[in-house]
C-alpha cells in the first residue's frame, strides 16, 4: 500500500496533480449551486415583500 502512495518516488508530483484536478473540478461543480440558492432566496424575499405590499394597499 505504501508502495502505491510512493509512486516509485514520484508521489510528490503525482498526488498533488490529482489533488489539483479534483479540488478545481469539485469547486467548479459546487459554485453554481451556491449561486442558485442565493438567487432563489433573494427572489423569495422580493416576492414576500411584494405580497405584503399588496395586502396592505387595499386598506387606506
Amino acid at each position: 500500500m505504501s508502495a502505491f502512495f510512493a509512486m516509485g518516488g514520484y508521489g510528490a508530483y503525482v498526488w498533488p496533480a490529482y489533488a489539483v484536478f479534483f479540488i478545481v473540478l469539485i469547486a467548479d461543480y459546487l459554485a453554481p449551486g451556491l449561486r442558485r440558492r442565493r438567487n432563489l432566496r433573494e427572489l423569495r424575499a422580493r416576492l414576500a415583500r411584494q405580497s405584503a405590499r399588496q395586502q396592505r394597499s387595499p386598506a387606506p
Binding site: G8, Y13, V14, A17, Y18, D28, P32, L43, L47
Partner: protein
C-alpha cells in the same frame, strides 16, 4: 416527415423547457462521469504498469491529457455557441457560451498545473517556452478575457454578446499563436525538450486514458447544465415558472 426534430430543438431553446430537460439529464451525466472516472483511475493508478522510461510519474497523463483535450473542446463549444448567439440571438446559446468559459478556464488551469508537475521530474523544469505550453497559457488568458468582458457589462445579455464576439476572435488567434511560437522556437535554439517520447502507448495504458476522456466529457455536461440552470433562473427571475420553482424549493 422528420419535422419533429427542428420543432423539438426549437422547444428546447425555451428557458423553462431546457431548465427541466437539463435537470433530468444532469444526475445521469454526473453519475456516468463518476463511474467512468473511477474506472479510469483504477485502471490508470493500479492496473497499468509503470512506464519503462518515466516510471510512475507518467500516471499524471491520465488527468493531464484529458484536461488539455477538454480545454480545447470547451473553447470549441463556446465559439460555436457564441456564433449561434450572435447570428440568431438565441438566449440559451448566449448562456451556454458564457457558462462554458469558467469550466474551460478550470480545465486549462488544471492542464497547466499538472503539466508543470509532470515536467519537473521529467525535464527538470517547471516550465518551458514550448509551443504547446505557451498556446495553453494564451488559451487561459483568452478564457479570462471572455469572463472579464462578460462581467464588466451591467446588462448581462449585452455582455454575453460582446464576450461571444471576443470568443470568436480568440478561436482565430489560437492557431496563429501556436504557429508563431513554433517559428519562434526554431529561431531561438534553446533547451530542446521532447514533450512526448517516441514510445507507443500500450493497451493497458490507453484504455484508462480514453475512459477518462469520456468521463471529463460527461463531467462537462453535468457542470454546464448546472451552471446554465442557475443562469436561466437568474435571467428570468421575473417570470412565473421561476416563481413556482422558488416557492417549491421553499416548501421542501
Amino acid at each position: 416527415m422528420a419535422n419533429w426534430i427542428p420543432l423539438w430543438l426549437h422547444k428546447l431553446g425555451s428557458p423553462p423547457i431546457f431548465y427541466r430537460f437539463a435537470g433530468t439529464l444532469r444526475p445521469w451525466a454526473l453519475a456516468l462521469a463518476l463511474l467512468l472516472g473511477a474506472a479510469a483511475l483504477y485502471g490508470g493508478l493500479v492496473l497499468a504498469p509503470a512506464d519503462y522510461q518515466q516510471g510512475d510519474a507518467y500516471r499524471i497523463i491520465f488527468i493531464h491529457v484529458p484536461s488539455a483535450w477538454m480545454s480545447l473542446f470547451v473553447y470549441g463549444v463556446m465559439a460555436v455557441a457564441s456564433f449561434i448567439a450572435l447570428v440568431w440571438r438565441i438566449k440559451l446559446a448566449e448562456v451556454v457560451a458564457m457558462e462554458s468559459a469558467p469550466i474551460g478556464a478550470a480545465f486549462t488551469f488544471i492542464t497547466l498545473v499538472t503539466g508543470s508537475l509532470w515536467g519537473k521530474p521529467m525535464w527538470g523544469t517547471w516550465w518551458t517556452w514550448d509551443a504547446r505550453l505557451t498556446s495553453e497559457l494564451v488559451l487561459l488568458f483568452l478564457y479570462l478575457g471572455v469572463i472579464g468582458l462578460y462581467h464588466s457589462f451591467e446588462d448581462r445579455r449585452q455582455g454575453a454578446r460582446a464576450a461571444a464576439f471576443l470568443a470568436i476572435i480568440g478561436i482565430i488567434n489560437v492557431p496563429i499563436v501556436h504557429f508563431s511560437v513554433n517559428w519562434w522556437n526554431t529561431l531561438h535554439q534553446g533547451s530542446t525538450v521532447r514533450i512526448l517520447g517516441p514510445s507507443k502507448m500500450s493497451g493497458d495504458m490507453l484504455w484508462p486514458l480514453l475512459t477518462m476522456m469520456a468521463a471529463t466529457k460527461f463531467y462537462y455536461i453535468a457542470s454546464l447544465f448546472g451552471r446554465v440552470r442557475t443562469d436561466l433562473l437568474a435571467m428570468e427571475s421575473g417570470k412565473d415558472w421561476v416563481r413556482q420553482i422558488a416557492e417549491e424549493e421553499a416548501k421542501s
